[in-house]
Each structure stands twice: as structure tokens, then as C-alpha cells.
């Protein structure tokens, strides 16, 4: 996103063969997982198909219709929810939403509807898929037009969070943040939503340390941000989480409501929410296919390793994971400019020369993934409640961000570790970032790295260890590596964790016209 690459990453004398080897290993690791993905589907993947077919809403008890229908399909899910739905459409002449309504009222049992001619079912499904993809494309074109007219801010983009629990209060704070210079607004989800096996419905005003991700809430925030974008003359981007047990459903909602970024990590849910590894990786593939088509920028979550592991010691695990995330993303059709690989400024501030290691890490990520808008996360672990020192830590973080050409800067808060940000904290954070980044702009283009110096050597060492780790993971396979605790020191069994029961083997004549249409839209998967 920078006009001219900063000299600091460009100066790193990285071993090109090592980089190629790391990328090749990551490709092989992803390939093995994707073979598994292609043979399976999940309850959330099938609910996604129903949502793309236009099914939304809840029944009298508040159960989302996509959940209700998938439950009714039971053991037949391996044929694809689209098969059952469009079979009923063909047999009854109703549209998908009317079929869902009839199921909710107990007037139709999908398994008992007489079989329609398979050709007719497929024809109806594929027509619906074409319409769904066209609707997603229309929202993407709308974004392109707005960005074309309003323009992009200079990088790094300034990313802040709101987390009031009440979408209408979030809107007030988001507008205030945009007027103070924020470029990207993320609505933090209510704690625990990642473990819900359904997406809550309608606008919500109660949450726990965050606001529920619902389609109605997405719409409320989009409308507000579009309004304030016009006012401030910049396109303000909206972020939410395509993660947890409803990953692809939320990506779909994000596509329909024109969100701009989705947090979507290959392994976050597995490691930190104990979601079944197979479920996560299957869901993830579809969610990334949707994001690819919708023009989302995904944000990966390697920063999280560093809250449990030591940022200096475990720096190479971040790089290794980024290589893997990159391959999963490319094979789901995402373009490099849509892959916001994550990392963080989390080293112990008491470390002598620690800033050099932070610069080395930021420059290394930038150099390894030149086409990607790198997402840089702020210090949180060593924030102690001393809000004055925290503000300084964030200033150094901002300096490294602008100097090394990071793409998306999630701003640190002086009151980190104390409470969700006050509106005044957000102001201080934005002022800090704008001051440092404006004042230091161009610095990275002017300074050259000393050949063979400490920053360059550190980057080379981290790359070497990352490449070594990728080699080991390739040898074991990702499943086994997860079982042995290769990431963040957490061990996860491929058959363990939440949501395992939602993984289903695809039948030979599995039908998912939406996935077909999305896969037809580019990518090398």
C-alpha cells in the first residue's frame, strides 16, 4: 500500500533459497489439509449455503432458520443442504425462503418431499448460486466505487475498536473515532460468541465486553460508517470476526452487508477456543472463498501466540504460521492484497535493545510478504496500568509501524489491561498515531540498515528458525503438529474440541452450487 517500499525491509539480506523452501513447505502443509477439506462438509458450511440461497430469520422460538433446516436434514447432510432445499423448491414451486417458513411451521419435512428430477434440482440450485454471487459482486463494486471516489488513507491505516455491547452506542463511538482520524473500525464481539453454534439475529443492545455479530448489527454500523465516510472524505472500513463455530456464515453476512475486513485465522479457534481442528479448517476454506469474492481483507491472528508465548523467543512461530496462513488464503482464491497477515509488538519493554528486535521482526514480515497489507497489533502484554508508560510503548509501536511500512495498524490504548477503551482513550491513541506517523513519515525510506548489523542478523535468525519449524511441520503434517503443541505451546487433538460433531463426510453426489460458483471465480485451489 506504500508508494515506495521502505528501505529497511528492502535492505534485509535474506537467504532467498530459505524463503522459497519455507513457502514450498507451507504449500505442502496446506495441500494435505485441503485434501481433507474437499472430502467433508460441516453444519456451518451447509447453513452458509442456505444463507446464500436467501434464507434468513428465526422461528417462533428464536432458532435461526438455517440451523432449523440443517437439523432437519440430519444424516442426509452429506448430500448438501442445497440438494434438500432445491429438491423442495422443485417439488413445491415455493421459493427458498417460503420453503424455510413452511419447515419452521412444520408443514414441510425436507426428507419426505418427493424427489424431483436431479437435473431440475441442480439447475435451480445453480441459478440461485449465480444470483448470490452476483449480489456479492454488486456489493464489492459498490465498495470499489466509494473507494474510487473518496480515496484510501496513507498506510498504515489506523484501526480502532469499539466494544460497548450496544450497537447504537457503538455507532456513536465509531463516528467520533472516524472524525478523529480512524480509518478502520472493528466492532469487538461479545465474549463467548465464537462458541455459539448459531448466529444471533437482529439488532442487539446487550453484550459482554463486546457487541454480538448479527447481520442487522452489521447493517446498522455500515450505514453509519457510510454516512461519516462522506463527511470526512475518506472511505471508513468496517471489520468483524469470521471466526468461531459460524466462520463461513459470518463471512457471508460480511459479504452481503459490505464489511471490508474479516478477522479469520487458520488456527486461532483451534488453539485459543478449543474448537475442533477439522471443523475449523473446513469452515475456514469456505469462509475464505467468500471473502475472496467479496473483496474482504482477511486479518490473521498470529499476534495471539505472543500473549501466551514469549515474543522474542517465539518470533519464528509467528513467521511459520504466516507462511501457512498465506498458503491457505491463496488456495481459497484470496489475492495477496487481501491477506492481512498479523503480528504484534509484544516484546518485554525492559529488554535492552528490544526495539531493534521489534524492527527486525516488522521488517522481516514486510519483506517476506511484500504484496500483503500486514496487520500490526499493539503492545498489550506488558501494559501494567501505568497509562503514561503505556502511551510511550504505543508511540514506539507507531514509529516501527510507519518506518517499516506496515499496512494496518491496530492502535494501542493507554488504558489497555484496565478496561474497554474510553472514548477519550481512543482520542489519545489516534493523536499518538497521527503525530508519530506524520512526523516520521518517510524515515524508513531514508535510513539504510547496516550490512551484517544486529537488525539484519536477527531477521535472518528468525527466518532460519521459522523455515526449520515449517520443515518439521511438513514432515509431521499439520494435524500431528497441532497434537504435539507446535503453536503457542497448546496441544489440540484432531478429534477433540468443540464442534467436532458438525463435521460430515461428503457423499459422492454432494451438491453445493454456491461453493462451485465461488471456486469458479478464480484462485488456484
Amino acid at each position: 500500500m506504500n508508494e515506495r517500499p521502505a528501505a529497511i525491509p528492502a535492505d534485509l539480506e535474506l537467504d532467498g533459497r530459505l524463503v522459497d523452501q519455507a513457502r514450498e513447505d507451507a504449500r505442502a502443509i496446506a495441500r494435505e489439509v485441503l485434501d481433507h477439506v474437499r472430502e467433508h462438509t460441516t453444519t456451518s458450511m451447509e447453513r452458509t449455503a442456505l444463507r446464500l440461497a436467501g434464507i434468513d430469520g428465526v422461528d417462533a422460538e428464536g432458532t435461526p432458520l438455517p440451523n432449523l433446516l440443517v437439523e432437519q436434514m440430519g444424516a442426509g447432510l452429506g448430500y448438501g443442504a442445497a440438494y434438500w432445499l432445491f429438491n423442495a423448491v422443485a417439488a413445491t414451486g415455493l421459493d427458498p425462503m417460503a420453503v424455510a417458513g413452511a419447515v419452521a411451521e412444520g408443514r414441510i419435512d425436507l426428507a419426505r418431499v418427493p424427489s424431483a428430477p436431479p437435473g431440475r434440482v441442480r439447475e435451480l440450485g445453480r441459478a440461485a448460486a449465480r444470483a448470490a454471487v452476483a449480489a456479492v459482486d454488486a456489493r464489492r463494486q459498490e465498495r470499489d466505487a466509494l473507494v474510487g471516489r473518496l480515496g484510501n488513507p496513507p498506510s498504515p491505516w489506523l484501526y480502532v475498536i469499539v466494544a460497548t455491547g450496544n450497537i447504537y452506542e457503538d455507532v456513536v463511538q465509531a463516528r467520533s473515532a472516524a472524525r478523529m482520524g480512524a480509518d478502520v473500525i472493528a466492532v469487538i464481539r461479545s465474549t463467548g460468541q465464537s462458541l455459539l453454534d448459531y448466529v444471533p439475529y437482529g439488532p442487539t443492545v446487550e453484550g459482554y465486553a463486546g457487541t454480538y455479530a448479527t447481520q442487522a448489527n452489521f447493517r446498522v454500523m455500515r450505514e453509519a460508517l457510510d454516512g461519516v465516510s462522506q463527511e470526512v472524505g475518506r472511505y471508513i472500513r468496517q471489520v468483524n470476526y469470521a471466526s468461531g463455530l459460524c466462520m463461513p456464515e459470518i463471512a457471508t453476512m460480511g459479504a452481503i452487508e459490505r464489511l471490508d475486513m474479516m478477522l479469520n485465522d487458520a488456527m486461532y479457534g483451534i488453539l485459543f477456543r478449543d474448537i475442533n481442528p477439522r471443523r475449523t479448517l473446513i469452515d475456514q476454506y469456505l469462509s475464505r472463498r467468500i471473502s475472496a469474492r467479496a473483496g474482504h481483507i482477511i486479518n490473521t491472528g498470529e499476534d495471539n501466540y505472543l500473549t501466551t508465548d514469549d515474543a522474542y523467543e517465539a518470533a519464528h512461530t509467528v513467521i511459520a504460521s504466516q507462511f501457512i496462513n498465506e498458503q491457505f488464503a491463496l488456495s481459497a482464491g484470496l489475492k495477496p492484497e487481501q491477506i492481512g497477515l498479523g503480528h504484534a509488538f509484544q516484546m518485554d519493554p525492559e529488554m535492552t535493545g528490544g526495539l531493534l528486535a521489534e524492527i527486525a521482526q516488522a521488517a522481516l514480515v514486510r519483506a517476506l510478504f511484500p504484496g500483503c497489507p500486514i496487520k500490526f497489533m499493539p503492545p498489550t502484554k506488558y501494559k501494567t496500568g501505568n497509562i503514561f508508560r503505556a502511551h510511550l510503548q504505543d508511540a514506539l509501536f507507531n514509529l516501527v509501524g510507519v518506518m517499516t511500512g506496515q499496512g494496518i495498524q491496530l492502535l494501542g490504548m493507554p488504558t489497555e489491561a484496565l478496561h474497554t477503551p474510553f472514548v477519550g482513550d481512543r482520542y489519545l491513541a489516534l493523536e499518538n498515531a497521527r503525530y508519530v506517523m506524520n512526523n516520521a513519515r518517510g524515515l524508513g525510506q531514508e535510513l539504510a540498515l547496516r550490512p551484517g548489523g544486529r537488525i539484519g542478523r536477527r531477521a535472518g535468525e528468525v527466518l532460519e528458525r521459522a523455515a526449520g519449524l515449517l520443515g518439521e511441520i511438513r514432515y509431521l503434517g499439520l494435524w500431528e503438529a497441532l497434537e504435539q503443541g507446535f503453536f503457542a505451546g497448546v496441544r489440540r487433538d484432531r478429534e477433540g474440541g468443540k464442534g467436532r460433531e458438525g463435521v460430515v463426510l461428503r457423499e459422492a453426489d454432494y451438491f453445493n452450487p454456491f461453493l462451485e460458483a465461488l471456486e469458479g471465480g478464480g484462485g488456484d485451489g
Binding site: 467520533s176 478523529m180 465474549t191 463467548g192 459482554y208 496500568g385 472514548v423 481512543r426
Partner: protein, 254 residues
């Protein structure tokens, strides 16, 4: 300024009462907002309130930095602090104490309960690495640690503690909204009481808003706030276990 005996803030000379404050008012910036800020500071007990900086936060809010002189004072002699009753020992001393006095491994079960997903505090106390050079309990050879992680229901934590034969239960509560952490914490204490296991465990909680006084009020043996290291928690656990052991022995002898 009203003279009160006792201790008050010190800016650059004794008893000047100098205080800095910053806060945001939900009104647009202007003379009225600034005057309102000064009036609020006066109500807070700050004399000669000054607004040294005010900034509009996008139309609906005004951020204020203010100074004033605090007219209140506190009589130090009258200050009572509820303190965790334990002598702080280091890593080696805790392990030696456990070996010599308790003669067995101390079993600790820890969790972030409710919907709290923030394990930072829990990991600082339990994980091998600990925090800022203070090793976590997992590294203590005389401790066996079961870290259940985040979003653990009270029932699961209580059940697991019984299963593992826990000597101590550690609960961390970081994120809170409308004081839900308090309800969560007291429910666990009640649950252990109801199941008749409360007396068998040392029950400890921690988090940025936890004080020892609050913890005791909620039915806990100790509460640890920000800046607590694992060695402090470990010291308390082994000394409390030893104290109970002695009480039991005295009871048997008496």
C-alpha cells in the same frame, strides 16, 4: 484552603494538594463544556479547578485535562488495610517450605470463569514462564498445576477441583461489565460451600479489579490485584495450607 490534618497529594510542595484529572464529557466543546468540567471538579473536592486542555472528540464529546487542589486529607493513623496474611517467599523458599512442612505436592486448579476469555493474568501466575522473571506455578517442583484456561463454567471448575483433589483453586476475572465478575465469583464460593468442599480448598481470586478486602467479602481466602507475582500467590497458598494443618493438629490434640 481548608486545613485538615493528615496526608494529601503532593505536587511540588507539601500539602499543595495538586491533582491532575482527565475525563470526557458527552457534549460538544465550548465555553459551557469547559465551565461544566470546572464545576464537576469542584464537586469532586478540587479547589481552584483549571481546565488546561480541552479537545472536541468528533462533535459529540469533549476531552478535558484539568488541575485542582484537593482539599481533603486522610489521617494515616486511622488507615486500616485488609492485607493478604502471608510472608512473601521466593521460588526456592516456597518449594522448600512445601517440602518440609506439607510433605507432598500442592495441587492447584485454575481457570478464567464465566465468559471471560482473557487468560493473561491466569497465565502470568500459572504458566511455566510466569511474568517479568517471576516463574509461574507450573515451574514449581512442589506444585502440580491444572490450568483449565478460559470461559470455564463455575460447575466445571468446581467439579474438576474435586476430581483432582485440589488444595487450591485460582479464579481469574479480567474483563467485566456491570460487575458480572462479582456475581460469578460469589457463585463459585457458594457452590463449593453447598457441595461441602469449601473448607478443603484454599480459594483465591485475582484480576485488575480484585482487592483482598473484596475477595474476603465474596467468600474467598485471598484476593490479588494488579502487579501480583506467582511467588506471592504461591507463598500464600503454602502458608495457608500449613496454617490449616496446624489448626487441624491442634484440634486433634485438644
Amino acid at each position: 484552603m481548608v486545613e485538615v490534618e493528615g496526608v494529601r497529594p503532593y505536587g511540588d510542595r507539601r500539602d499543595d494538594g495538586a491533582v491532575q484529572v482527565s475525563f470526557t464529557l458527552p457534549v460538544p466543546d465550548g465555553e459551557r463544556a469547559r465551565e461544566a468540567a470546572r464545576m464537576l471538579m469542584r464537586q469532586m473536592g478540587l479547589e481552584e479547578p483549571q481546565v488546561v486542555f480541552a479537545r472536541d472528540l468528533g462533535g459529540d464529546f469533549t476531552f478535558v485535562v484539568g488541575y485542582g487542589r484537593c482539599r481533603h486529607a486522610v489521617d494515616l493513623a486511622a488507615v486500616r488495610v485488609a492485607r493478604v496474611n502471608a510472608e512473601v517467599m521466593d521460588f526456592k523458599a516456597v518449594n522448600r517450605f512445601a517440602r518440609e512442612r506439607l510433605g507432598r505436592k500442592v495441587v492447584v486448579v485454575g481457570a478464567c470463569t464465566g465468559s471471560d476469555a482473557h487468560t493473561l493474568g491466569l497465565d502470568a501466575i500459572l504458566s511455566m514462564k510466569g511474568f517479568a522473571g517471576d516463574y509461574g506455578l507450573e515451574r514449581y517442583p512442589e506444585f502440580r498445576v491444572v490450568n483449565l484456561g478460559s470461559q470455564v463454567p463455575n460447575e466445571t471448575l468446581a467439579g474438576r477441583a474435586v476430581e483432582e483433589g485440589a488444595d487450591a483453586i485460582l479464579v481469574s476475572q479480567v474483563v467485566t461489565m456491570r460487575d458480572v465478575h462479582l456475581t460469578n465469583l460469589s457463585r463459585l464460593a457458594e457452590m463449593l460451600e453447598a457441595e461441602g468442599v469449601r473448607d478443603r480448598v484454599v480459594l483465591v481470586c485475582g484480576g485488575p479489579r480484585i482487592t483482598h478486602e473484596l475477595a474476603v467479602e465474596l467468600g474467598y481466602d485471598a484476593g490479588f490485584g494488579p502487579g501480583t507475582g506467582a511467588s506471592m500467590v504461591a507463598s500464600f497458598i503454602v502458608q495457608e495450607l500449613d496454617r490449616r494443618r496446624q489448626v487441624r493438629r491442634a484440634g486433634q490434640e485438644g
